[in-house]
């Protein structure tokens, strides 16, 4: 088993599995966010549950953080090794002739997402920790909707979120669809999976962007 950790194929499996895990998390995240558009009450309930349920807080949240860290640390390790594998670069290299831009620039879409995660953590996670543990404020199951709307009041933040979701879409476009290939599946059944992954890569980031824009413009209109 120890050989598995050192080999290039093991790193490929780790990227694919941690990526797939993060995709599952995205489904959960986008579902709860959508509730904020359609039912503020349900959104408050769900957010309160996620914020105070010990299973979510002390088991799922740490696993998620580990998943994110593993995915991006491994991504950097691979990038460094891959650069080393071509120590002298081409004078002329026509990457566009044989591979899509998104697949060749995962490190850049990934870096933008990572920078976004820092902002996102500051916006919501740091805020939660401060509220719950630093200020030790009492539980208030109805605060989440208004806090969210407030966050999206500044236009710059809304734009940063929307741009990041665009990059998330590009990252998913290549990453999600190629995860089964990494895990060793490439046959007539994976064709359908790839189509689903591409649709997912468009629909989910669009939904996230819509939610951010909705909370920015809705209070202005009303």
């Amino acid at each position: 088993m120890s050989g598995l950790i050192k080999s290039s194929l093991a790193r490929k499996y780790v990227m694919a599995l941690s990526g797939l895990f993060l995709v599952i998390f995205l489904i959960l995240h986008v579902t709860i966010n959508l509730a904020s558009v359609f039912s503020p009450d349900f959104f408050n309930e769900a957010s309160h549950f996620m914020g105070y349920n010990p299973l979510v807080q002390f088991i799922m949240q740490p696993i998620l953080i580990v998943g994110v860290i593993v995915h991006f640390v491994m991504g950097f390790v691979l990038e460094i090794q891959n650069k080393k594998a071509r120590s002298i670069s081409y004078v002329k290299y026509k990457g566009s002739a044989n591979a899509p831009w998104v697949s060749r620039n995962m490190i850049y879409s990934g870096l933008v997402i990572l920078a976004f995660l820092a902002l996102h953590f500051y916006d919501f996670w740091v805020h939660e920790i401060t509220y719950k543990y630093v200020e030790a404020s009492p539980e208030n199951p109805t605060r989440y909707y208004f806090e969210t709307v407030e966050k999206f009041a500044p236009f710059w933040r809304t734009i940063l979120y929307v741009v990041s979701f665009g990059l998330l879409g590009l990252h998913l476009w290549h990453g999600f669809a190629s995860s089964l290939q990494s895990m060793g599946a490439n046959n007539k059944y994976t064709v359908g999976f790839k189509k689903f992954a591409k649709i997912f890569a468009v629909v989910v980031p669009l939904a996230f962007a819509f939610i951010a824009l909705y909370h920015h413009f809705n209070p202005i209109i009303h």
Binding site: M1, G3, L4, K6, S7, S8, L9, A10, R11, K12, Y13, L78, Q81, N82, K84, A85, R86, S87, I88, S89, Y90, V91, K92, Y93, K94, G95, A97, N98, A99, P100, S103, R104, M106, H174, S178, L180, Q181, S182, M183, G184, A185, N186, N187
Partner: protein, 248 residues
């Protein structure tokens, strides 16, 4: 036609190289790319200059000896052909053509456009074989029934000529397409099953030791491969390796 060539010249493995400009007139569309270089070399020799060194052997797309990164693509802009089969009619009068060696840390330049691809041989030696009794009681291979689909896929994988274009095209200089073709051609056949577990592990280990990069599924290798080796071979190798590792 008249061509403006920008060619990588490098005296030996330890000297630094550089791009040198040449102008070549009288090139015809029916010439192969290597014939075009032959003409350039004849001119250079007649002027008392050193000819441009490049690899070639069969000149009919079967040996995998020719290489060259031509205008940023291995084996040039055409698909499913090697450099020796690339016709000059793919270019136009007045074109500038940049000609470089295949670039990978695992393929060091020996001279000019020639690179050392023995890393591929070491990967092959690490497991790209089957053990057959040849001491007089050899069993005829055709006596073992093989499913037509498997036989076809194994044959397709076996058409890899080991040219290294997959590595040259890959932004990560990964050798996954080559290695997976060599794993696949045996993994699909009953004769290859006996050593399947060690084969994939040893070949992948050697591939990593040689310093090739990691595959990130860009698919550039499949597009540039002169033999059309498919990415499904890489998936098969990923699968074989995973099951081999889990087995022990």
């Amino acid at each position: 036609m008249k061509l403006y060539l920008k060619i990588w010249r490098q005296k030996d493995a330890s000297s630094p190289g550089k791009i040198v400009d040449y102008t070549l007139d009288g090139v015809e569309g029916d010439m192969s790319f290597l014939e075009m270089l032959d003409i350039l070399n004849e001119e250079l020799v007649s002027k008392g200059e050193e000819p441009v060194e490049f690899d070639h052997d069969c000149r009919e797309g079967i040996c995998g000896t020719c290489s060259l990164q031509i205008n940023g693509e291995p084996h040039g802009p055409d698909r499913l052909v090697t450099t020796c089969q690339l016709h000059m009619r793919k270019f136009n009068d007045g074109d500038t053509i940049v000609i470089e060696p295949f670039r990978a840390t695992a393929f060091p330049v020996i001279k000019d456009l020639i690179v050392d691809r023995s890393a591929f041989e070491r990967i092959q030696q690490a497991g790209g074989y089957i053990s057959v009794n040849t001491s007089g009681n050899t069993v005829d291979a055709n006596s073992i029934p093989i499913n037509k689909h498997d036989a076809d896929e194994a044959m397709d994988a076996a058409t890899c000529i080991g040219c290294g274009a997959c590595v040259a095209a890959c932004k990560n200089a990964s050798a996954m397409l080559f290695t997976s073709a060599k794993v696949s051609q045996f993994a699909l056949l009953p004769q290859g099953k006996v050593e399947a577990v060690e084969r994939v592990q040893n070949m992948v280990r050697q591939m990593d030791l040689e310093g090739f990069g990691n595959c990130t599924n860009t698919g550039a290798c499949e597009v540039e491969c002169p033999k059309g080796i498919s990415l499904t071979n890489i998936a098969r190798m990923n699968r074989e390796y995973l099951s081999a590792t889990l087995k022990g």
